[in-house]
Amino acid sequence: MSQIVKISKGANIKLTGAAEKVLGNIERPTSFAVCPPNFHGLMPKLAVKAGDKVKAGSTLFFDKYNEQIKFTSPISGEVVEIIRGAKRKILEVKLKADSVLAYEKFEVSAASAQDVKSALLISGLWPFLKQRPYDIVANPSDSPKSIHITGIDSSPIAADYEFLIKGQEDVFQKGLDALAKLTSGKVHLNVNDKTLFDSAKNVQINKISGPHPSGNVGIQVHHIDPVNKGEIVWVLRAPDVLSIGRLFKDGKYDASKVVALAGSKVSSPKYYKVLPGANIKEMFGNEINNGSRVISGNVLSGDDVSIDGYVGFYDYQICAIPEGGEDEMFGWMAPRFNKFSLSKTFFSWMTPNKEYDLNTNMNGEERAFVVTGEYEKVFPMDILPVFLLKSMITEDIDAMEGLGVYEVAPEDFALCEYGCTSKIETQKIVRKALDLVKRECG
């Protein structure tokens, strides 16, 4: 029984520099790093030390509190260095790749839920499965009421998932079959009007339409199969399923993925086949212009990794946008035709198809909540966003529960944060609150 969900609230931010649907060629870099901060809520414990030889699929570190969850190397080569930050927090496990990759061979079978689980865990693919509530890596001992896969990325200049998957439908289906074993409920594949996914079997296909954040899996879950207190839903993105499918097809961790290199600071934005953890400068140093902010992920909730950074585990998009920093004279009253605004105090609402080249300026200073009703316009859930945020700020867990904290993830608030007149960092507030509730109730 397929569901049709029409999302009316939200907004598409049109930026210049969307990736052309062409696959570019690049050499595989030698410098790699797996970064534990990619995985929120993780307490990493190292399984290797500098100088160790690893294969693609060898465990680099694992979660201290759930040792089954392993994080593996995307390449074969040598562990070069462990970079630690404050309080000896592990930031990067740096690797140097061999010229020819050698893979760990896994005996995998998708016969039962247990087989699928152990295959995903040993190969390091498990972290693709995230859970609602709390937006963290799923716990293998839970049994989710359903699994949701989003087939849409609606964020600005995002990768087109259809382009990423086209031609690999058989592998995709293999991944879906494996995932179907993991839940007693349904696997939902939430897609827009594109037909690529229509032939997918073993899943319930739901049609989602509307502006960003309709592609956010949390929004889809809310409309199709909302998470109540005590329930768990696992979520992932469609291209993740490809990696899972390949594991069950070939028995090895082939982490390669296609990412969109996009943004106004990219000379020729297009798609590239890369490995997670690959060094961005080595691959795209010539493509990305100076003075850019390099983001792994989208411009609303991705990580500022800088040009020396690495492709994130979860990301299918690398963005380079102009770094701001310049004061703007009388900017608060000038017409500013070059700004895109969700409010109508700018002229951008009259030119809905114009693409904007936005920089990283805050365009104002942080203030208390003053304007009301603006979050509601871009928050397509039956949740009162400002009241939920206020309960989060005051750490009132009872109120948070009542107002729907179990259904939200920071990314769902990204548009609120974008359009906030008072420049409040909503995603940070939500992340902190989710961690608090997890600690107290999880």
Binding site: N228, R336, S343, M362, E425
Partner: protein
């Protein structure tokens, strides 16, 4: 521009120094001249161009038509009172005289209001070590617009100080206040100095130069003041028929008389989405409903029988609904709550105005009462949302 930017950054005083107010003043000036080029660190990497300054300046902009009209009307009413012009003459006659007279009367009120209010804001910003928040940009303009022209300047100063300190700063500043700042100032004066805020002596400036005298039979009462006694016929007689009240050449507080000028402001606020259309619409509906109920029960010729549309054109109803009821900080914050909140203002505004002889105008009290009820209204909406979620658990 670059030179100015370099200069202002060079003279930045320390916020830890002996005189933190210097830093507050510097910061206020700097952020007035420039939007600081701070960049996003975590979370979103790009941000909307809007900020609170822009929002507030839009509201001030929306008040300009009412202000200009008010200035002109102050002069017009004055010349009418001393017989220089009569109601039969075209209103544009002696345009500059009227406008200049009005400007000279109104400008000092604006200067005092902004001067006192911003002064206090700077002191609190320095004490609390935060930057100047923009809320008073709007309040500072609202206060003169809801005063009678003859109010003494020192009263405006005292009322502004009271409103900013007790109405806002004790709650934590912009965004934290419970009741509308400008209405706090007005209510303060209304109850502390009723003779200067009501009656028939204050609405028209009757200062006389040598050789001038008031016209025979001059009455300085507002439309509402007359209507309490004489109903609709008194209004028509004094030149405040529905249409005349809509245009606005009638006695009243400086900014409140012209529904047209206020309407232009309302259009600006609605087009820019700054004010809530829900509140405005439901307040007007509430006003019409309440006035119609009075129409049904009132005797012919009485105040109760003044037609609903005419009621809405009079007094501060339009001004209050457009500029004060829609203040997002003190209004209900949920969309459903805004409907209830606006409707309540409409009902109460007309109810107090008509049913209570002590107060010739009720919209100020209606908004203040609605302000303090807003959290309760929101509470109900929030609880509904919570209950809906609980119900979902039970049905699963």
């Amino acid at each position: 521009m670059k030179a100015l930017n370099d200069f202002i950054k060079k003279i930045k005083p320390s916020d830890e120094g002996k005189f933190p107010i210097m830093h507050a003043i510097w910061d206020g000036t700097y952020t007035f001249l420039f939007v600081p080029g701070h960049t996003n660190k975590n979370g979103v990497h790009v941000r909307d161009g809007i900020d609170l300054k822009r929002t507030m300046i839009m509201v001030v902009l929306a008040m300009i038509p009412a202000l200009l009209f008010g200035m002109f009307n102050v002069g017009h009413q004055h010349l009418l009172a001393i017989g220089e012009v009569t109601r039969d003459m075209p209103v544009m006659e002696m345009f500059m005289d009227k406008f200049i007279f009005g400007t000279l009367k109104v400008l000092p009120l604006i200067v005092v209001s902004y001067g006192v209010g911003l002064g206090i804001e700077f002191v609190f910003a320095a004490l609390n070590k935060h930057s100047i928040h923009e809320g008073f940009l709007v309040s500072g303009m609202l206060i003169p617009l809801i005063m009678p022209v003859d109010v003494p300047l020192w009263m405006v100063a005292v009322a502004t100080a009271f409103a900013v300190i007790i109405g806002k700063e004790v709650f934590g500043g912009t965004g934290m206040n419970i009741v509308n700042i400008a209405l706090t100032a007005r209510a303060f004066l209304f109850f502390a100095y009723p003779t200067k805020m009501s009656g028939d002596q204050v609405w028209i400036n009757t200062s006389l130069d040598e050789g001038q005298q008031l016209v025979d039979g001059f009455s300085g009462a507002t439309g509402l003041g007359n209507a309490v006694e004489g109903g609709k016929s008194a209004l028509d007689e004094m030149g405040a028929s529905t249409f005349e009240a809509f245009i606005g050449f009638i006695p009243g507080s400086i900014g409140e008389t012209s529904v047209i000028a206020i309407g232009i402001g309302a259009i600006i606020l609605l087009l820019t989405n700054i004010a809530s259309w829900r509140i405005m619409l439901s307040a007007v509906i509430g006003g019409i409903v309440m006035a119609s109920i009075f129409n049904m029960v009132g005797d012919d010729g009485s105040f109760m029988a003044v037609p609903a549309l005419h009621q809405l054109m009079l007094g501060g109803f339009a001004f209050g609904v457009v500029f004060m009821a829609t203040d997002p900080v003190t209004a209900a914050q949920t969309n459903q709550g805004k409907w209830v909140y606006g409707f309540m203002i409409g009902i109460l505004g007309i109810l107090i105005r008509v049913a209570n002889p002590a107060y010739p105008e009720g919209i100020m009290l209606a908004i203040l009462i609605a302000n303090v009820s807003a959290p309760l209204i929101d509470h109900v909406v929030v609880q509904n949302n919570i209950k809906k979620r609980l119900k979902r658990v039970k049905t699963v």
